[in-house]
């Protein structure tokens, strides 16, 4: 059964288009999605996911699960960058450690959306509030990462930190376009009437999978290009990029079992914790810790952790949750 799910996932066109993107880079094709389009596709996905999540929540109403999920989400978003930082510090310099810790504490919206697609294909229900959990987990890791950086920077080097204040960085992380769009769509989904949400379905549902496949093609191209910069960066980097997601996943699966989350919610939360940011956090780090090596933290999350999660991670976590929950 687990092999079935894995193969089903591998033969999903959405995932196959990701491979096509990787392949295109590998054979040095000039296939390239214009950046205006990439941006549009990612906004489209957030728009749809937010709206559907909000509409779903309006239907189901509030429940205790929401609070459990949001508390877990916030807790993990604060905890993961902490232990990631101390693991990283054993091998890497302060700049890279802080940047990578923030990267892995935050989340990847595309991985989340791919997991939602996976759940829908396996007819597994999940709560609309998961969208809120995702939005909630985007920023805290940036703050933790910068606080750790500032703390140790003052101790170690007497302070090389750049001028933007932590407050400013937090501000930017919270008003980040993706966060605003998904939270906004989520709220709009909550207040809109059933009829009007229904009228949007051909856009938000009909063409969704196709747009996702197209976007994953683009992500494959991007991941493929980024992979090159990891050459020669050593086994520690590679191990970290796979083992930390697995560790985070194991931790949250355990907590999901303790707190008796539903299978769908648990999978999404696992995916959020196991995923790493390659949009919001790198942008924040490029500005706030410019000495951190962007040739490290971007490809780790984008070219290793992201493919790992969408190809193997999601079906694996689902298999484990199927064993443990009920």
């Amino acid at each position: 059964m687990s092999a079935d799910v894995l193969i089903g996932n591998l033969l999903n066109p959405v995932i196959l288009f990701f491979f096509l993107g990787l392949l295109a880079v590998w054979i040095r094709s000039d296939l390239a999605i214009p950046t205006a389009l990439s941006r549009f596709l990612s906004y489209y996905l957030l728009f749809c996911i937010g709206l559907k999540g909000g509409a779903e929540l309006a239907h189901s109403g509030l429940s205790m699960d929401i609070f459990k999920v949001l508390a877990l989400a916030l807790g993990m978003a604060l905890l993961v960058p902490l232990y990631a930082f101390f693991i990283l510090r054993r091998r890497l310099n302060l700049y890279d450690s802080a940047a990578i810790a923030a990267t892995y504490g935050s989340i990847s919206a595309v991985t989340f959306i791919t997991a939602i697609n996976f759940l829908e294909e396996n007819q597994e229900p999940f709560g609309g509030y998961m969208v809120a959990a995702m939005a909630l987990m985007e920023a805290p890791a940036i703050i933790v990462g910068l606080l750790l950086f500032n703390l140790y920077d003052r101790n170690e080097t007497g302070g090389s930190a750049r001028s933007p204040s932590v407050r400013q960085i937090v501000r930017e992380a919270v008003t980040n376009g993706s966060v605003v769009l998904i939270l906004g769509s989520f709220l709009i989904g909550i207040v809109s009437t059933d009829k009007s949400v229904h009228a949007l379905l051909p856009f938000t549902d009909g063409i969704f999978k196709g747009m996702l496949a197209f976007f994953l093609l683009d992500m494959g191209l991007l991941a493929g290009k980024r992979l090159a910069s990891l050459r020669g960066s050593g086994g520690f980097i590679l191990r970290f990029s796979v083992l930390i997601p697995l560790f985070n996943a194991a931790l949250i699966i355990g907590l999901a079992w303790l707190l008796e989350l539903s299978k769908g919610d648990a999978l999404l939360l696992t995916v959020l914790c196991a995923s790493a940011s390659y949009i919001a956090v790198p942008a924040a780090m490029r500005i706030s810790i410019p000495k951190a090596n962007a040739g490290l933290y971007v490809p780790m999350s984008l070219a290793i952790t992201f493919p790992f999660n969408i190809i193997l991670g999601i079906p694996l976590y689902y298999f484990l949750l199927n064993q443990i929950l009920n």
């Binding site: 950046t35 490029r286 040739g295």
Partner: protein, 97 residues
């Protein structure tokens, strides 16, 4: 025609707002800029890829008088020291119209 200083500045796209404010604060008569520049420098490769503008540059062209230049020279130097980027200065003739 009139003698002017020409400044050419390359800076990370996310710093555009800061540089524009700086030029406005120091009451520089005009400027032009565009985004979408890629490049390589001390802070590595900015290849313009990805879903964020963080890895691409903007290019600023500022034609100004000598006194204007003296006014912004130090602030621009400080901005670049903090945020990275380059600034090249040269002499041009301004076609007055």
């Amino acid at each position: 025609m009139q003698a002017y200083k020409k400044l050419e500045i390359v800076i990370n796209t996310l710093e555009v707002r800061r540089l524009v404010s700086l030029l406005n604060e120091h009451e520089i008569g005009g400027y032009t800029y565009w985004k979408g520049a890629r490049g390589r420098g001390d802070r590595g490769l900015q290849d313009g890829e990805g879903l964020t503008e963080a890895f691409s540059n903007a290019y600023f062209l500022v034609g100004c008088t000598e006194p204007e230049f003296e006014r912004i020279r130090e602030p621009i130097r400080a901005l670049l020291a903090d945020a990275g980027g380059v600034c090249m200065v040269s002499d041009v003739q301004w076609l007055v119209h």
